[in-house]
Symmetry: C2
Subunit: 228 residues, 2 copies
């Protein structure tokens, strides 16, 4: 009565059933990637004909995906003119990071309070893997794990809504964050902060973790600031 999804479908424990994927879902992911990878640059117009042809899809599912992207704040729709990839100002960045900071702080505190040891161990695993990529200066893989760790901490809170909100905001600044981490010194700083985060989490020291996250987000803002 509460939710009939998942009651009578044949999916056993943990085994995800074959997800029927629609075109607009597929397109949505591709577009997100294109924006994050910089193949669609801020301010650039998304020509439905062109992009549709590139992806081998008609305009209909493409338009639906664009609507979703607009709702996520990654693109801006100007009626009768088209959709353009959203450009974020320094002010926007500040606002986003302010909220992101608050959300991660909440996530971190909750994770300290009620995440199972196993989950924390997994996050430590991600961190160690990330450090190996740092040692070999593999920026792309480092970056991916970096994002994954932040997401994992928030996910460890057990609050799906928090995860969702955090995810959309993180997506907005993903690209800038990637660019912003260039430079050896900045990178080293970020790594040091991450080290502290993991340690606080393992000690389940919520206040300490929150503090480190605050610092980390603030320095992220500075790292990203000159990239605009």
């Amino acid at each position: 009565m509460s939710n009939d999804v998942g009651t009578m479908d044949g999916s056993a424990e943990g085994i995800p059933r074959i997800m029927r994927r629609t075109l607009h879902d597929e397109v949505l992911e591709r577009l997100r990637d294109m924006i994050i990878e910089g193949r669609l640059t801020p301010g650039q117009r998304i020509n439905e004909g062109v992009v549709g042809a590139q992806l081998g899809v008609s305009r209909t599912p493409l338009r639906e995906a664009i609507k979703t992207l607009a709702s996520e704040g990654l693109v801006e729709i100007q009626p009768a003119k088209g959709a353009i990839v959203r450009r974020f100002s320094a002010f926007d960045m500040k606002n986003i990071l302010e909220v992101l900071k608050t959300l991660e702080e909440l996530g971190g505190r909750m994770a300290c309070a009620l995440a199972p040891d196993e989950t924390i161990a997994e996050i430590r695993g991600l961190h160690d893997a990330m450090m190996r990529y740092y040692a070999s200066r593999n920026r792309l893989e480092y970056f991916k794990l970096n994002q994954a760790i932040h997401s994992a901490i928030v996910a460890a809170s057990g609050n799906e809504v928090l995860v969702e909100m955090h995810g959309t905001l993180q997506a907005r600044i993903k690209r800038l964050r990637f660019i912003g981490n260039e430079g050896e010194v900045k990178w080293a700083d970020a790594v040091a902060e991450h080290e502290q985060m993991i340690e606080a989490l393992e000690r389940r020291d919520a206040d300490q973790l929150a503090t480190v996250i605050r610092i980390h987000m603030e320095s992220t803002r500075l790292r990203v600031h000159d990239v605009l």
Copy 2:
């Protein structure tokens, strides 16, 4: 360079230019209202043909609007089956209010710190108007102003991103909140809490405001809980 919107358009100070409205925008609002007003109940399937006919619109803009609603979390899309109005469990409510609490707390603190006196006065105006509706037991208008006050406080933070996130979450529980406020006692409690909020805001007592908001959100959770 930051944002070219608003630089060369012919809109004078404060005078909003004629907004071209697209059908899917219009439909989007209407659907939101239908959900909040309970004309579309949780679990109910949205038949594109039927609803499209009701609104006098073809399926295309309707589908686009539904995609946006799904992104906002008000609707769930099951491929090849259709969209259903999302049903929130008590656990969902808890999660939503947890995040909402955090966001409003942040908004409140920022508002105390940097909202102009004038803005705070306007919020006081909303509050007083709300109290008049309470005195005359006009539940609908009371409710609208209640929501408006929460939004206004967050808006007074000056953080657009915060406003946006708050808005989407608020939309999810709008209906439940409306139903939950039935009963004289609960209502009186909510009013008392609001009174304290306004006073704290006027004193720019950020800590106090945050505390009251925490309490208010917690009692909101209780008020809403039995409605499921």
